[in-house]
């Protein structure tokens, strides 16, 4: 038969890069993902090493140095970002605020992730009645006004970090359930799942070792997006005075406290809000980037 000469220049382009090379190229070629991850990573470091980085005690009040402006508005380097209405160092409060935001975001997303994933995977895998019940619960959940319910429950149970985390964790599972249900439905029909069942693998085993690894990429994307959602909600609750309570350094609370001075000292509102915006933006960029990179066929 024909001898195919593989050195022929016409055939050189046939062998492409390996999947690993392509993934690496996509990851490092994705600006949003890179920028988002770097910013999130930096803020995570700031949160972890807050005690080392903060120039002052975030709770230390000083009536002598109330509402000092930041350096770029003529303040002193002793308080680079100025001081609040109680004389507390703004930069230190921002640094400790990163802890609050990230902790709330991470733990709330984890709790809602466990609830939503369990529901979604069960609905997608078992179908039938289980699916009907889960879909119904998702509908019910979506019909409840999140901010209102969260505010009401936090108000009843008392505003503390733990309560806010629990409330958000128990409220934000809807997207996990929706996405995990759809992903499980997609994967359930694949041959390798049928093969695992055929060799007699138990249901938990099929779910854990065949289904989960194949929907994990979607799960990670939703975790990041819901983390951002939880951080925004906590800030909104705290801003409304019904979330994390003073004197905890929460960015939402700082905006709320700065609001009263907004007329004369707009920076007190601008700075914590901007930091919040940057963190949420970075997490979203990371989430969108992860979605693009792990599922290139879904890219728009």
């Amino acid at each position: 038969m024909t001898q195919t000469d593989m050195t022929d220049p016409l055939l050189q382009e046939i062998t492409g890069p390996t999947p690993g090379q392509m993934l690496r190229k996509r990851v490092f070629g994705h600006q949003g993902l890179l920028i988002g991850s770097i910013v999130v990573g930096l803020l995570l470091l700031v949160a972890i090493f807050a005690p080392l980085l903060a120039p002052h005690d975030p709770y230390a009040q000083s009536l002598m140095t109330r509402m000092n402006p930041p350096v770029f508005l003529g303040g002193s380097w002793d308080h680079p970002l100025g001081t609040d209405h109680l004389g507390r160092d703004y930069l230190s409060r921002l640094i400790y605020g990163a802890r609050v935001s990230l902790m709330i975001g991470l733990i709330a997303a984890l709790i809602s992730g466990v609830i939503g994933t369990a529901m979604g995977v069960a609905a997608g895998y078992f179908g039938g009645r289980v699916d009907m019940v889960v879909t119904f619960l998702i509908n019910v959940r979506l019909a409840m006004p999140v901010v209102l319910v969260a505010l009401a429950v936090v108000a009843i149970l008392g505003g503390s970090l733990q309560v806010v985390i629990m409330v958000l964790g128990f409220l934000l599972w809807d997207r996990f359930a929706v996405v995990m249900r759809a992903s499980t439905l997609q994967v359930r029909g694949r041959e390798y799942v049928a093969a695992a069942r055929a060799i007699g693998a138990s249901t938990p085993r099929v779910i854990l070792s065949e289904i989960m690894p194949n929907i994990a990429n979607n799960l990670i994307v939703v975790v990041t997006l819901e983390m951002a959602h939880a951080i925004l909600l906590e800030a909104a609750l705290s801003f409304l005075g019904l979330g994390v309570q003073p004197p905890t350094p929460s960015w939402g609370l700082m905006v709320s406290e700065g609001k009263n001075m907004m007329l004369f000292e707009p920076w007190m509102v601008l700075i914590p809000g901007a930091v919040l915006f940057v963190l949420v933006l970075a997490i979203n960029l990371m989430g969108d980037g992860l979605r693009d990179v792990t599922a290139p066929e879904n890219r728009s």
Binding site: T2, T4, P9, L11, Q12, E13
Partner: protein, 331 residues
């Protein structure tokens, strides 16, 4: 001699892709007269559909088109602006696509979609357009034509939808009709009906037709001219009789060997296949693209390939007769 309705010289299509240019179609030449049927045959990916879209001016924005000549009844299509192309499309040149299931807009009725082209191109009223639509639906063999007009595409079967597509293409009595694998998506029994219909209508209306297909059985029955396309080039062109009786390019012969013939192909024998790897068209493409699969390939195939022409039958190969006689001797 009658001037051809459609003339194409050196049509070339380049697609920029990550890391280079895909030379999808290279140096296509052909002429088509009124009432003639040209069949373009070739494997999928050989650039047949792209060529037809280029004629209609329907290429994606990223694809670069160049041609020495591309004229339709005296109109230079290479220089035609969007407005001119629009007035030709659907009016004087029409196209039938290969996917009847998705080629109709799900949001509008058959009637709306049938009359659209006529209302756009001709000064006719709604009633006249409706009447014409019913007439054509009957012509393409659809029963209860009047009541079909208020139906939506999803209510019709694939065969019916393709008939609707044909009727739609014929609404303005085009001079040229391009059918891009109009029957691939349909059941085999319906395929024959649709082709017959298309062929008869073409004759009846004296339309020039370009039929794109990879079904050589179809070609044998309807074609006046045949153009064989491989990896973006026309490797062999000529009258249907010439190409079928004396296939000169090794690829054409390979294709013909793939058709089972009742009585000729032995029961139980394997059908012919063309072995080898289809080349990549990214980067410079020099020489004959078929050399990676050709049983007669020589080092010379990487150089310039001469074009042999005799009485309208042309092919490109380094071997003066495409090694036809050598193959026949061993057969």
């Amino acid at each position: 001699m009658e001037k051809p309705l459609l003339s194409v010289r050196n049509l070339t299509l380049d697609i920029p892709v990550g890391g280079g240019t895909l030379h999808a179609v290279r140096g296509i030449d052909f002429d088509l007269k009124r009432g003639e049927t040209l069949c373009i045959v070739g494997e999928s990916g050989s650039g047949k559909s792209l060529t037809s879209l280029a004629l209609m001016g329907l290429l994606g924005k990223t694809i670069k088109r160049s041609a020495d000549e591309m004229s339709f009844d005296g109109t230079d299509l290479t220089r035609a602006n969007a407005r001119t192309m629009r007035s030709l499309r659907g009016g004087r040149m029409a196209m039938i696509f290969q996917e009847p299931m998705t080629s109709l807009n799900p949001a509008y009725t058959i009637g709306d979609q049938l009359t659209e082209a006529l209302l756009l191109h001709k000064p006719v009223g709604k009633e006249a357009a409706r009447a014409r639509a019913i007439e054509l639906l009957e012509k393409v063999g659809i029963t209860a034509a009047a009541s079909r007009l208020s139906q939506y595409p999803h209510q019709l079967s694939g065969g019916l939808r393709q008939r609707v597509m044909i009727a739609m293409a014929l609404m303005c009595e085009p001079e040229l009709i391009i059918a891009d694998e109009p029957t691939t998506a349909l059941d085999v029994t319906i395929q024959a009906q649709i082709l017959r219909l298309l062929y008869d209508l073409g004759r009846e209306m004296n339309m020039a037709m370009i039929l794109i297909t990879h079904d050589l059985g179809v070609v044998a029955r309807v074609a006046d001219k045949v153009a064989v396309m491989y990896a973006g080039e026309l490797v062999e062109t000529g009258s249907a009789t010439e190409v079928f009786n004396s296939p000169s390019h090794p690829y054409t012969r390979g294709l013909l060997r793939c058709i089972p013939l009742p009585g000729k192909t032995e029961r139980g024998s394997t059908l012919g296949t063309i072995p080898g790897i289809v080349p990549s068209l990214i980067g410079d493409v020099a020489g004959c693209a078929f050399r990676t699969r050709c049983p007669h390939a020589t080092p010379a195939c990487r150089g310039d390939i001469p074009r042999h022409t005799a009485e309208g039958h042309a092919f490109r190969c380094v071997h003066p007769d495409g090694k036809r006689h050598a193959e026949e001797a061993t057969a």
